[in-house]
């Protein structure tokens, strides 16, 4: 209750800041105006419910109000930005404020400064959202943190990207663009832990949720447990070519410490490449990478994931006026499958050597682009599971948007990637007032 009051107060403050009465020709200057600080943001209310009963979670899948404030200032020397969400979230049991994990009543999305120390270099320091790669809701060389909880529970898709605390250096010599992201302390995914969404727990051999929230052990030493991401990219007559490198950890707890019974983040090194460009009447993209699981190079440790080759090929085209489609094929190929099979403890479910996933996105714009209908589907023929993301958005006015959608999981088995989330299938609705 205290938090709701707090939120209302904040909303009142920001409305006062933004909407002080303006008389024609004599706009009173607020303090923020004088400092050249731009204030914007939105208020977002959302609610969702599971469509099947989940033994381990509440029926309510989403119930939150969110106020985002975005303060920015750009001058010739630097650009500053602070973007933070003030949240009242009804779902989690744990409500302690943790800016790293994004729990509690503040989710600090960005707090950074961008400047150019020399002509061919840009530097951005601080909390920031980082993204690269060519996939559409599939990520191979983008090893920046993701928020899978937000993605699956019906928040706006932008929340799939969790913030990084990083130094991001871009260099622009004539031959290529070079981007380097250094994260001094590992930023993990905001992964499915059981608190909000139920998951398959291999140790228990069943689905689990609030009864068995994942205990994880995160590498968290400054500088020792750092991550580094590199991209070298250039455009060759309309074809965007890029090479990537990453040294850090599996972003979600892909490993297990059998003694302490804790989920762990084993070491990971990735190198890859991508190309994107025009093909016939559309766009194609191909991306690949080698995931070197350094803690298990021979693939015979059952508690550490094996090395993999990942591959993605996509094609996007306008199918009719205001109607477009994107198709992707995605592959995870396990390297030492023989060792994996031989070392897998009895009672565990055997993964396939290849995991194939197909995705299809369909988007239709109508009513002067104020109505957006979209459906994103994942389907894995090897795992025999699927995930559908229908969504409808309508902009009632320039500031008010209403939305509704679903996250529908289905699968033959409850231990596959999407199949395990079947009981989390949910529908949601929300509205957003932007200012």
């Amino acid at each position: 209750m205290i938090k709701i009051k707090y939120l209302l107060m904040l909303l009142a403050i920001c409305i006062l800041i933004r909407f002080t009465p303006v008389h024609a020709g004599e706009q009173p200057e607020s303090l923020l105006d004088r400092l050249g600080i731009d204030v914007h943001g939105f208020a977002d209310l959302r609610a969702g419910t599971r469509i099947t009963e989940d033994d381990y979670e509440r029926d309510t899948s989403l119930l939150e109000s969110r106020l985002q404030l975005d303060l920015s200032r750009i001058d010739d020397i630097a650009a500053f930005q602070i973007r933070a969400d003030f949240i009242y979230d009804d779902i989690p049991k744990e409500t302690d404020l943790d800016l790293e994990d994004g729990t509690g009543f503040i989710d600090l999305r960005e707090a950074n400064v961008l400047f150019s120390p020399i002509d061919i270099m840009d530097v951005k320091i601080g909390r920031q959202i980082l993204t690269w790669g060519t996939g559409d809701l599939l990520f191979i060389n983008d090893l920046f943190p993701k928020d899978w909880q937000s993605f699956f529970c019906g928040r706006d898709v932008e929340y799939l990207k969790a913030p990084s605390d990083a130094l991001f250096v871009s260099m622009f010599p004539d031959f290529a663009n070079i981007d380097l992201a250094f994260t001094p302390r590992f930023d993990a995914d905001r992964f499915i832990s059981g608190e909000r969404l139920s998951y398959y727990n291999p140790a228990l051999g069943r689905l689990a949720g609030r009864d068995a929230v994942v205990e994880d052990y995160k590498p968290d030493d400054w500088f020792k447990d750092s991550e580094i991401s590199l991209r070298i990219s250039r455009d060759i007559s309309g074809y965007e070519l890029a090479f990537y490198g990453y040294n850090g950890f599996w972003k979600s707890p892909a490993g297990m410490d059998p003694v302490r019974q804790e989920a762990i983040f084993p070491d990971l090194t990735v190198c890859g490449a991508s190309i994107r460009g025009r093909l016939k009447n559309g766009l194609f993209n191909i991306e690949t990478a080698y995931y070197n699981s350094k803690d298990d190079t021979s693939g015979d440790n059952p508690f550490i994931p094996n090395s993999e080759i990942r591959l993605l090929a996509g094609y996007e085209q306008e199918l009719a006026r205001n109607f477009s489609g994107t198709f992707q094929y995605y592959l995870e190929y396990m390297k030492d499958y023989g060792s994996y099979r031989a070392s897998l403890p009895a009672g565990n479910h055997l993964q396939d050597k290849d995991r194939h996933v197909l995705t299809l996105r369909l988007t239709k714009l109508a009513l002067n682009q104020n109505l957006i209908l979209s459906l994103f589907s994942y389907y894995s023929p090897s795992d025999k599971d699927a995930y559908f993301r229908p969504n409808i958005k309508y902009k009632l006015s320039d500031s008010l948007m209403i939305t509704a959608g679903g996250n529908i999981f289905t699968g033959s088995n409850d231990y596959t990637f999407f199949g395990q989330f079947e009981k989390n299938s949910n529908i949601y609705t929300g509205m957003r007032y932007s200012f």
């Binding site: 939105f42 990207k161 006015s397 320039d398």
Partner: protein, 263 residues
């Protein structure tokens, strides 16, 4: 600059009464070429801030505010940088276009909340720009070779040209008529007719001002007569030949908007 001189000379010649050249009308193709140059290629580069007001049939309005930067490249290709300032939900989004005459354009959208440069698949150029009654093609120009042009009549001030698409299936109109000012070569009005011969759409220049010697449309209106909606574009802070760097039209300046658009 050459184009401008040519325009100027043509304009002067056209103004001199009884001039022998006056009697010789330029061909329809030539007029359309010159109109295209006057509308979309003034100067080596240019900038404008645009306020777009979309009026729907029920009287509601929606506002779009953006800055637009343009640079002319070789072979009539162009680069555009569009930076949105309003409404709030698209604020700081940037739209980058590398226009290729006679081919598909390369287009990207910058999504600031995701820090993502999203490439946009080639699309129908005759679909709404930013939800308005202007089409993408109205903003970046229609290829002059895509229609056959016929000079219907010439009066004291204007040429009237009928344009029939060479590939009728690629567009929603059967033909359109355009009135072009004989002095400035700016199109004053275009009217689009459907396959039943019915007028259903118009685009009109409401205000023309000379800026740095270039006749410039500072207010234009597009009307969708079928749905009853209309959009007014007002252009302010128009400047030409500002010496825009090529590099502005790259990912670096999507990440960090150039001062030309943030000021």
């Amino acid at each position: 600059m050459k184009t401008f001189l040519f325009l100027l000379i043509t304009a002067i010649i056209a103004l001199v009464p009884g001039s022998s050249i006056h009697a010789e009308e330029p061909s329809a193709d030539k007029i359309i070429e010159m109109a295209n140059d006057a509308s979309y290629y003034a100067g080596k580069d240019g900038q404008a801030s645009v306020r777009m007001t979309i009026n729907d049939s029920s009287g509601d309005t929606r506002i779009r505010e953006f800055m637009i930067l343009r640079k002319n490249m070789d072979k009539k290709d162009q680069k555009f940088y569009v930076y949105f300032k309003a409404p709030a939900d698209v604020r700081k989004m940037a739209y980058l276009v590398w226009k290729h005459v006679g081919g598909d354009d390369d287009r990207w959208l910058w999504l600031p909340a995701l820090n993502l440069k999203k490439r946009i698949a080639p699309g129908d150029k005759r679909t709404s720009f930013a939800g308005s009654d202007f089409f993408y093609e109205d903003v970046s120009g229609r290829g002059t070779g895509e229609d056959s042009h016929e000079l219907i009549k010439t009066d004291n001030n204007r040429y009237l040209i009928k344009n029939v698409p060479k590939d009728p299936d690629s567009v929603e109109f059967a033909y359109y008529n355009v009135w072009i000012n004989r002095e400035t070569f700016l199109p004053e009005k275009a009217e689009y007719y459907n396959k039943n011969g019915k007028l259903y759409r118009s685009v009109e220049a409401k205000k023309v001002v000379i800026i740095q010697g270039y006749p410039t449309v500072t207010e234009s209106v597009a009307r969708d007569l079928a749905s009853g909606t209309s959009t007014t574009n007002k252009f302010e802070n128009v400047k030409y030949d500002i010496g825009l760097n090529d590099k502005i039209f790259t990912e670096r300046f999507l990440r960090r908007p150039p001062r030309e658009v943030t000021r």
